[in-house]
Symmetry: C2
Subunit: 102 residues, 2 copies
């Protein structure tokens, strides 16, 4: 019997799952979308962009930062969030090609 192929090892699959789980939420995706076009945005700007309440947004941002999806840096009174790795938003192209979401 042929051996079934494995492109990723177990550990990598875990990491991939971890990242996907981290972004698999409408608000988080919306945040990524905004950061795809704006490079860096403050929490306040993200509040307006997403329409999400401050505390909840903060929770989302911090989780994404913890998981390595976002980075942040303070600039005076504001904190700017950016994509830790711009490649992540390729997922949007990916999903756009999928008939499942139509």
């Amino acid at each position: 019997m042929e051996k079934l192929s494995t492109r990723f090892d177990a550990e990598t699959l875990l990491k991939v799952a971890e990242i996907l789980k981290t972004i698999a939420h409408p608000v988080r995706l919306s945040i990524l979308e905004l950061l795809e076009n704006k490079e860096k945005l403050t929490v306040s700007e993200l509040m307006k962009g997403t329409g999400i309440e401050q505390s909840l947004l903060s929770h989302h941002l911090i989780k994404m930062k913890d998981k390595g999806v976002l980075k942040s840096e303070r600039e005076g009174k504001n904190i700017f969030y950016t994509l830790a790795d711009k490649h992540i938003v390729n997922i949007f192209d990916c999903m756009e090609g999928c008939s499942i979401i139509k």
Copy 2:
């Protein structure tokens, strides 16, 4: 103030999140990986390929089917599972380019 861009509308973001949530699990990813190279596989073959116990595997398969990620068809005693849309596995290319998972 500039309007922040929105590539996907809220409804689509929901669907995308739904799909990502569905596949964001190491076993599910492993299933997709196997189906990337084999077109159709029975539950038994997937058991061997993933090393997952029958009942749990079945739960995973059925959820992915419910969410539109997989399809299945009976052939005698076996049930073959296939990708509903092959584009979904592009996510692997996508993630491979991401330094986050290294």
